[in-house]
């Protein structure tokens, strides 16, 4: 590298692709984005054709109609208000559910007796989806915020719990023994080796749980709420406003997608040293 100088310039001049980017280079550089835009455009195109020429436009409103409906809903703040309230429910349930699951999960993963005691119950209860719990949650907590918090908590808890236990179990035995040789006591092995080793599994569990929370909040709000995106869906359905239903559906897609991206960015900012190196373990 040190004594290159001239020859490097010559190489650049000899290869036209570096001096003046060709169409091919642009394509190579931006292909992911270009194909993403193309994918969305084709999707909207097919949707438009189907709703205009194949299906009844009332049942499947074309994309332009949906966008036109969305604009006043966005400007009036109606959507923002519903998104905010739904997001808050998801966030409260997700954070408390994850926290409880991580605390219990690391204990179950470490203490065999505890696992053997709790596992049969968990294995049965985890088949009760948040949707299945809506009727009883309404009786227990009413249609206020608490019932939604509970339902999201319920859904998050089991997913994160199972992943946390798996992460604790899969801490390589060699790593624990290495720490033991270096002088770590059992508590230090647990806190400084096992829990960090489980972080990639915990984060994966939380990502899955977050996606599932966005799915569970909708039925919960449809059946037991007077606000939120699910309630918007329900209200629009009663009034046969298919265009508003589609606005709500599209909103769920976008909000869920953005929430996952934000979660990933937060993880990258705070836990990168634990997660990006997972390949090694």
């Amino acid at each position: 590298m040190a004594q290159v100088g001239d020859s490097e310039v010559n190489v650049e001049a000899a290869v036209p692709g570096i001096a003046r980017p060709s169409l091919h280079d642009l394509w190579e550089r931006y292909r992911t984005y270009l194909l993403m835009v193309a994918s969305l455009l084709v999707g909207f195109g097919i949707w438009h054709l189907l709703s205009t020429f194949v299906f009844n436009p009332f049942l499947i409103p074309p994309p332009l109609v949906v966008f036109k409906t969305a604009i006043p809903m966005l400007l009036s703040g109606e959507i923002l208000a519903d998104v905010t309230i739904s997001l808050k429910r998801v966030l409260v349930g997700f954070v408390t559910g994850s926290f409880a699951a991580i605390v219990l999960g690391v204990l179950l993963g470490r203490i065999r007796l505890l696992h053997e005691l709790f596992d049969p119950i968990i294995e049965l209860l985890r088949y009760l989806s948040p949707t299945a719990m809506i009727p009883i949650a309404v009786i227990w907590f009413g249609i206020g915020e608490m019932s939604k918090y509970f339902l999201i908590f319920w859904g998050t808890f089991f997913i994160v719990l199972i992943n946390t236990v798996a992460g604790v179990w899969r801490t390589p035995i060699g790593r624990q023994r290495a720490a033991e040789c270096l002088g770590a006591n059992p508590l230090q092995i647990f806190a400084l080796v096992v829990i960090p080793s489980a972080v990639p599994y915990i984060v994966t569990g939380m990502r899955i749980a977050m996606a599932s929370s966005f799915m569970s909040i909708i039925p919960a709000e449809i059946l037991a709420a007077d606000s939120g995106i699910g309630y918007l869906l329900q209200k629009s359905s009663m009034l046969m406003q298919t265009n508003r239903i589609f606005v709500a559906l599209l909103t769920i897609c976008i909000v869920g997608f953005l929430a996952d991206r934000v979660f990933r960015i937060l993880v990258d900012r705070t836990l990168a040293r634990f997660t990006s190196l997972a390949a090694l373990s």
Binding site: R175, R177, E180, C181, Q188, L277, A279, S281
Partner: protein, 263 residues
């Protein structure tokens, strides 16, 4: 000094009990480099785990400087074949070495000096900010060595540490390890199934027979100056001698693997 007397190790499951080791005797002096050599299934890693204190015995005695080994001890550190999983991947090179100092409550003031000393010894001081995933296989093993040396144990227990490395890197690691051994005077117990590796490294080679009921069938003390050149006729003769002895055991080892015997 490590003393293994008449050790017996049995693995008990619901259906079968498997006698892995039966009557192992071995004495390892301070500063000695001993290789445990044998094909897979001979119980050499089991013996190493017993010396480390990870596994108990079902008969006989294992002592370190006269004290019975019941758990991991401050004077013995194990190095593993899979450095990727043995290292802490979320800690940098420097932080991996620091870990042992931290958990042993060694005064903070001495940390930088100790860390520098051993990172220099394994030639990793320029990579101290890197994470293990950014290192090559040989560098990871050198980091494992530095991390072990930093807590200043008397004994290094090495479980096929170079088996997963390419041949050139492995040769280089042999030179690195011999150099460190000569400079630090550690006692090293080194498990391998590679005859050439054992001859290159060891003061004494303990050959183990294939289980069940593995024993140390022979102990060889190569009276050869280091570095040992495998093309040297005396070294080659020793190699062939050991290979001939291992041949029948190797066949049995393969048969055993087919029978799925627990080990």
């Amino acid at each position: 000094m490590l003393q293994v007397t008449n050790v017996r190790k049995v693995y008990q499951s619901a259906q079968v009990s498997y006698v892995a080791l039966d009557g192992i005797n071995l004495q390892i002096d301070n500063g000695e480099f001993v290789c445990l050599l044998g094909p897979s299934g001979c119980g050499k890693s089991t013996l190493l785990n017993i010396l480390a204190g990870f596994e108990g015995v079902n008969g006989g005695a294992v002592t370190s400087d006269g004290v019975a080994i019941r758990a991991a001890g401050r004077e013995r550190v194990m190095l593993f074949q899979d450095a990727g999983s043995a290292l802490f991947p979320w800690l940098t090179v420097e932080e991996n070495v620091r870990f042992g100092l931290r958990v042993r409550n060694i005064p903070k003031a001495s940390w930088p000096e100790v860390i520098d000393k051993y990172l220099v010894m394994v030639d990793l001081e320029r990579h101290r900010e890197k994470f293990p995933s950014q290192l090559s296989g040989g560098m990871r093993q050198r980091l494992q060595i530095a991390r072990a040396l930093a807590v200043e144990p008397a004994v290094l227990l090495m479980d096929e540490p170079f088996a997963a490395l390419d041949a050139l890197t492995r040769r280089r690691m042999h030179a690195v390890l011999l150099d460190i051994w000569q400079r630090t005077g550690k006692t090293i117990v080194f498990v391998t199934h590679d005859i050439a590796e054992a001859i290159t490294l060891a003061d004494r080679i303990a050959i183990m027979s294939v289980g069940p009921r593995s024993v140390i069938s022979r102990i060889i003390a190569p009276d050869l100056a280091r570095p040992r050149d495998l093309t040297d006729p005396k070294v080659a003769r020793l190699f062939n001698d050991i290979e001939a002895q291992l041949a029948p055991d190797l066949a049995r080892s393969e048969e055993r693997a087919l029978q799925q015997v627990p080990h």
